[in-house]
């Protein structure tokens, strides 16, 4: 078998780079003049960037900084420093890299990172966030607000849950008004939700392009490139423009049947310290991720949810409560993956267990078993999203190669196609 690494690089990659550099430049300016440019530190998961627009505030995402360090092979030193200070080996390495980098004064783009106006812990799903943001607030001396977003316990969030989150969002507004001395611009907030809705629709369109065969879009590796603008810019006109261009470019991207040999669903974030090597392991086999759960950490927009300018606060609350993969339960994640496998017509599932992330990786052994039993070729691999010490290139590649060899065999002999079309049995029902 001849294998060749391929990677698509269109003009949207250049645009993405420029947008992200603009973001880092804004953060750098804010570091020089805090009064002019408010900054809110926040988590990617179910983030409420729309609310920030009401203050013209810029989001600061510690996860994005941490993963940028990892991609640039700069994560190990800060991790080691954090461990010297007492962070345990099994702490989430995002936290260690972020804290260590802060103490070492390392920033991903080389510019300065500001002291946040507010450390806003949008606590969705992951309890590591709480401690992480407490530490950030403590280190930087910035005020902390913990947004308590109840875990999704049913198909839809209840009215009480929504009201509870909306009340807190309004508290955040009041808090930011007193911290910035600015009045909250409700119209701008409303406009931001309108921009978001548009960006989200375009993003969803991009994700649905992967239903084509061959797919012009890799919903794991390419999606990651688009995720930066999605979290930073979706509530702004630049974001809408970017996603409009991206959708157009990808729609017109020429792809031939030979470019795609396998269609996969991927669960879990990538090993960022070895991002390129990992991507090449897929590309060598012409394997395309047609869907991924990781690309829904920020939001589950391909299933129809949009922010709503008619009900801006409520829609932000709904997004945080139910429309991101982190605040949803395991059975809902099974449903999501099962839906991808069917509607995106995938050949198999790859689960990447991330040592850092106990919360979302625990249970993936069962997940593997669940999908294997349904007849889905499923591969389970382990490493880390930030700590390079947990990635073994030879082992990972060996497993992926073996998985693709068996998929190739199945294709060649027509041995097995996923018997997934049948509706799922009752264990999937969420009470």
């Amino acid at each position: 078998m001849s294998v060749q690494a391929t990677e698509y690089r269109g003009s949207i990659h250049q645009q993405q780079k420029e947008l992200m550099l603009q973001w880092y430049a804004a953060l750098d300016r804010a570091a020089g003049n805090a009064a002019e440019q408010p900054v809110v530190s926040m988590m990617v998961s179910g983030n409420c960037v729309e609310l920030l627009e009401g203050f013209g505030a810029v989001p600061l995402y510690p996860e994005v900084n941490a993963l940028q360090l990892a991609i640039r092979h700069q994560s190990l030193d800060p991790i080691l420093l954090a461990e010297e200070l007492g962070y345990a080996a099994d702490n989430c390495a995002y936290v260690k890299a972020d804290i260590g980098a802060y103490l070492k004064g390392i920033t991903p783009a080389g510019g300065r990172l500001p002291k946040p106006t507010l450390v806003l812990c949008n606590f969705v799903g992951c309890n590591t966030y709480l401690k992480w943001f407490e530490h950030t607030a403590d280190l930087t001396g910035a005020p902390l607000y913990v947004l308590d977003v109840p875990f999704l316990r049913s198909e839809e969030p209840g009215e009480a849950d929504i009201a509870y989150v909306v009340r807190q969002l309004k508290e955040v507004v009041a808090r930011l008004e007193s911290l910035t001395g600015r009045k909250f611009d409700y119209d701008r907030f409303q406009q931001a939700t309108a921009y978001s809705a548009e960006s989200e629709g375009l993003w969803s369109g991009i994700k649905h392009l992967a239903q084509r065969s061959p797919s012009p879009f890799d919903a794991y590796f390419d999606a990651i490139t688009l995720m930066g603008p999605l979290y930073v810019y979706r509530a702004r006109s630049e974001g809408v423009q970017f996603f409009r261009d991206a959708l157009r470019e990808l729609e017109q991207k020429p792809v031939s049947a030979e470019d795609e040999k396998f269609r996969l669903v991927v669960e879990g974030p990538p090993p960022y310290p070895y991002f390129r090597a990992f991507r090449d392991m897929f590309a060598r086999w012409k394997a395309c991720a047609v869907a991924s759960t990781y690309s829904t950490v920020g939001g589950l927009w391909e299933f129809g949810f949009r922010h709503d300018p008619e009900k801006p606060f409520e829609s932000v609350a709904r997004h945080m409560l139910a429309q991101n993969v982190t605040n949803r339960n395991y059975l809902q994640r099974y449903e999501q993956i099962g839906h991808y496998l069917r509607a995106w017509d995938a050949d198999g599932l790859i689960i990447h267990f991330v040592k850092s992330c106990r919360l979302f990786s625990a249970g993936q052994g069962d997940m593997r078993e669940y999908f294997s039993r349904m007849g889905v070729p499923t591969l389970y691999i382990e490493s880390d999203l930030e700590d390079p010490r947990y990635f073994s290139e030879a082992q990972t590649r060996n497993r992926l190669d073996a998985f693709f060899e068996s998929l190739e065999h199945m294709k060649r002999t027509g041995a097995r196609r996923m018997p997934l079309a049948a509706p799922q049995p009752s264990p999937l029902r969420v009470l």
């Binding site: 082992q395 060899e405 068996s406």
Partner: protein
């Protein structure tokens, strides 16, 4: 006669198998050498030995498939495949009807669920930890000053196997030393070590459905104590071919043979080709 070879460059040993077919497949030669630091040289040595034993020239070999961790270092190979795919294929050839393959090598152990024609349906492997592998056993043997070829037979004599709680290849040494200090018999300690490895391997293997027949492959398959311990923990019999150690190389050679002849390949996958090893 069409001739093809498989070379399995493992972390500890390099195995090579030469197959010929004239309608019926026969093993013409096999070779075994320590991998050592020079992976490429080990592969060349093993392949050279194959040709010498069979009395053929290198150029007589129509196709060579490399497998094992060192597969990409084989300078003379025509194609590479993972040892997972090759072990399944080799085990199925040696033990027709095998549905589960437990492969224990020097640094990793794996369980493979195998389809009716020797194809991989599913597999699991140990991750970043040598517990449950040949290395764990080699460490234990070394601490006790007993040759690796004797630990298996000795472990079969265990009347009261000790409990080895650790799964760490390094810490097992201190466990063993403390049992020795307590005056426990070497066979009981070894019995415990074998059971510990077997339990770990079986718990790994349970993640793919364990279905009979179960075949064992890899270097550790030569250890009768390990086979017995696995059978005990599984509560089922484990088939071990005399060539089990060569299953990866054999699988690679079978794939290589297919590449020489497409009609042969499709016959194999239609289940119409019954191969037999010469031994």
């Amino acid at each position: 006669m069409k001739i093809a070879a498989g070379v399995d460059v493992g972390s500890t040993q390099t195995k090579a198998v030469l197959l010929g077919t004239n309608g019926e497949t026969a093993m013409l030669a096999r070779a075994l050498t320590d991998t050592g630091a020079n992976v490429r040289a080990a592969a060349e040595a093993a392949f050279g030995e194959l040709c010498r034993t069979a009395g053929i020239a290198h150029s007589d070999v129509a196709f060579i498939v490399g497998t094992g961790y060192g597969r990409y270092n084989i300078s003379f190979g025509n194609a590479q495949m993972t040892e997972i795919t090759c072990h399944a294929r080799g085990a199925h050839f040696l033990c027709p009807g095998a549905r589960t393959v437990i492969d224990m090598g020097g640094q990793d152990s794996k369980a493979i669920s195998v389809g009716a024609n020797g194809e991989v349906l599913d597999f699991v492997m140990n991750d970043k930890c040598a517990a449950g592998t040949g290395r764990f056993l080699a460490n234990a043997a070394e601490v006790m000053g007993i040759g690796l070829d004797q630990v298996g037979p000795l472990s079969l004599k265990a009347a009261y196997p000790v409990k080895i709680a650790t799964v760490c290849t390094v810490f097992v040494e201190s466990d063993i030393l403390s049992y020795l200090a307590q005056g426990r018999k070497p066979e009981d300690i070894l019995g415990g070590v074998h059971l510990a490895i077997a339990k770990r391997t079986v718990s790994l293997a349970r993640r793919v459905p364990i279905e009979p027949k179960i075949a064992m492959t890899g270097g550790v398959a030569r250890n009768c104590g390990m086979v017995a311990a696995l059978e005990k923990v599984l509560g089922a019999s484990v088939h071990v071919s005399r060539e089990a150690h060569f299953a990866g190389a054999l699988g690679a050679a079978l794939f290589a043979l297919e590449r020489t002849d497409e009609s042969f390949e499709s016959a194999v996958w239609r289940g119409e080709h019954a191969g037999r090893s010469r031994n």
